[in-house]
Point group: C2
Chain length 469, copies 2
């Protein structure tokens, strides 16, 4: 038996022990490896996204702070022994981003206040109506208001911003209506509930803002600029891979556009939360967050096209090398221009400087489009003449179908990139992005290499003249 | 003054009254019209989606039921005056779909139970450690467990199914740990909390299942089949509009594919909820809901292509009518075949019958692809010859670029539709869709017209032979 490694035995009913069958041994191994994998994934989340780990510690800190209320007698008695509500508020209200936390705090406070006032009013009316009608009035009011408030949660504009408030409204109103207290005691209870909520929400707000705040606005900002970068890289990568056999872009880069495809929900909720946030970092209160959602939508429409481009590049049809080479130049040039525009838009968004080069780069992109269109035109009129091809050979259309498709998708992507530039321009205007200082502009030019400085200088001058006018 | 219609006056500080200025009058009008618009939209939601209105009434009913506890003395005293928790449970747990409600109920109960057991244990340990260490142990345990549980909410597999449970765990554990009770009283409190939660959840479950239940599974099922239908219609519509000047498809139909683009989040959350649901209607417990998510993803990849197709159809480049006519036949034929496959897949999904015709239809679609490819091939070799075109005219490539793009996108859409058919097949196998009865098969053939009966009979026979083997 030695030499067979670890042995697995179980006792069976007849008193003997026998080896575990292979299957269940694998079962146990599988379970262990599953659990191991789970903790590995968890560890990776913790290491790769330290912000999330910090958030967890912050929740612990906030709860420890609020639980101090139980240990300090005067505080505990000040809220009539209802410190429980403060703990509850912290647990329920503390969210990952500042905006989400603020939104929940405001919703909770407003919902409680409104429902409390209404509840006390209905209670008073019911108590005036006599003992027979009191429960009927109370029950009916709970039924009607719960139905109406639930319905309001289906209305998109309310759902986006006040969903939690509506729920708290129903909760508080039901609790007050059905509780058997007299009105005088109700006031006391309302007072306690409000003060505990105030304590809970202030602890949450202070903890979330003071220690490593995660602003929904900044997250949205980074999400959009990262997506632009990724889109730019994957556009460049997939066109380069298609036309050049020695280019090898990593799968991660190629699939980068998928992040943009799937971030609609995240963008919208972040934008909704960002609207609750005070001025922070580079962003003022009232920063045009909803415009960011439009930029995101525009970015997504580019991503759809890149998805289709990827699909048509993977098609089986083979294109003769000679055409691939001839067309490749124009296609790669256009994709470089488009991705450069995307990259520059990402820079504009992240530095929040007025876009000075974009118009020029868009023009360059358009001229690349024109060149590609000319190449398409010339293809059938003048047969391609290169060393490899027989001179005078006529192109058969079917050979270049994939190329034509790739070209027109690239042209479509260029058109959509232009629209995206427009959307970014709107953000730049509404958010009043600063103009680049002369030094920064020079630095930018140097880092781009010397070949275009003349042109860009003219462009810059023209822009400055325009700004003065 | 008569004849000027309604007049708006306000009293100003100097005692005179003056007419409201135009602007503020417009302001008031705008406010009124805004409020009116809000209620109109709300009314439309109520009328168009009666299920949502019914849900609101159900919430009212559940709350009325649970509030009866306050009026029945023995019930009220049975839970030690803690009926409040039952009301709270109903408000927080009652969701739109049965699956979401069940998921929240299970999460709430499990979270409370686990945290309760752990809380009592920690309390006992702390009480043994002496008065000095007690608060330290309690505080530390709250901090550590809150941090760990919050972190678990970031792990995708836990977030999808147990997010609410983790929150309730933190809540209950903190409440128990910090409350100043002795252990004996804790047991009583835990008992009351558990029984009130049991009461609340049972009222929710009964109300949600007995009165007009909204099953997450059924919703997911309908969402997917509706999206297939919409995709099919908008594919048909946009190709028909492009190639025929007298075809006018409504914008709503054309934009139908956008529903599929944006339903990823909805599909995933519905699938997660559907997994909690018991057998209902045509669905058993353990129905392969996660496969539906894959079908949805496959459907979305078709939708991306249709989006790109729409984009390239709106391009400015004009195609000579003669080519449009020549190509139109093949393109329309292919798009008809693809949309027919989509329609049939929708029928398969919604009737849950074994797909018998799909393989045949996919073959038809493939032959349409082949025909279109042949047409592309022939175009450059044999110049198009029609009555309108000069005989022998050579096609210049640039004139047909948009057509070539549309064609290859249609071919790509066909390829993706085939993959979708594969995904639907997997669902059909895993969910053990029933075979069509002979009568149903006949009915289906009749409704399709007589021209293909022979072929389909053979197909059916072949399928039946295969199934017997």
């Amino acid at each position: 038996m030695a030499g067979r490694g670890v042995e697995w035995r179980i006792n069976v009913a007849d008193g003997t022990s026998r080896e575990l069958e292979a299957e269940s041994r694998f079962g146990l191994q599988r379970f262990v490896s599953k659990v191991g994998g789970f903790f590995q994934r968890a560890w990776r989340i913790g290491v790769n996204e330290p912000k999330k780990s910090i958030h967890c510690v912050k929740v612990g800190v906030a709860l420890s702070l609020v639980s101090l209320f139980y240990y300090m007698r005067p505080l505990y008695e000040g809220v009539g022994g209802n410190a429980m509500w403060a703990v509850m508020t912290v647990v329920v209200v503390f969210e990952y981003t500042v905006g989400a936390t603020l939104s929940k705090c405001v919703n909770r406070a407003t919902g409680t206040l409104l429902a409390g006032a209404l509840g006390v009013g209905v209670h008073w009316v019911a108590s005036q109506a006599g003992e027979r009608f009191e429960p009927i009035i109370l029950q009916t009011s709970v039924f009607l208001l719960a139905t109406a408030a639930t319905f309001s949660r289906f209305i998109p504009s309310i759902k986006a911003r006040f969903d939690y408030g509506a729920m708290i409204f129903i909760l508080t109103f039901s609790l007050i209506s059905v509780s058997g207290y007299r009105v005088e005691k109700l006031f006391e209870m309302a007072h306690h509930r409000l003060s505990t909520i105030a304590i809970g929400t202030s602890i949450c707000i202070i903890t979330t803002i003071v220690f490593f705040p995660v602003w929904a606005g900044t997250e949205l900002h980074n999400l959009i600029t990262n997506n632009m970068d990724k889109l730019s890289d994957s556009l460049d990568g997939c066109v380069a891979d298609y036309f050049s056999s020695n280019s090898q872009t990593s799968d991660k880069t190629l699939q980068g556009y998928k992040c943009a495809l799937n971030s609609k929900a995240a963008e919208e909720s972040l934008a909704n939360f960002a609207r609750w946030e005070p001025a922070h970092g580079k962003f003022n209160f009232g920063h045009p967050w909803l415009e960011y959602v439009k930029v995101g939508a525009s970015l997504r429409s580019c991503a759809y096209c890149i998805e289709a481009l990827n699909g048509s590049m993977n098609s089986k049809a083979k294109v003769p090398d000679v055409f691939k080479k001839h067309f490749g130049n124009f296609c790669v040039r256009l994709s470089n221009k488009s991705s450069a525009v995307l990259k520059e838009l990402a820079v504009v968004m992240s530095t929040m400087k007025k876009p000075t080069k974009i118009d020029f780069m868009v023009e360059e992109m358009k001229s690349a489009v024109q060149e590609l269109e000319n190449a398409l035109k010339s293809l059938s009129k003048q047969p391609v003449q290169t060393a490899e091809a027989k001179v005078g050979e006529v192109v058969t259309l079917v050979e270049v179908v994939p190329l034509v498709t790739v070209s027109s998708l690239l042209i479509e992507i260029a058109a959509r990139t232009e629209k995206l530039a427009g959307a970014v321009n709107v953000v730049a205007e509404k958010a009043e992005f600063e103009a680049e200082t002369a030094e920064e502009a020079k630095k930018g030019q140097k880092s781009k290499g010397g070949n275009k400085i003349g042109q860009e200088d003219e462009e810059d001058k023209a822009m400055k003249t325009l700004q003065k006018v």
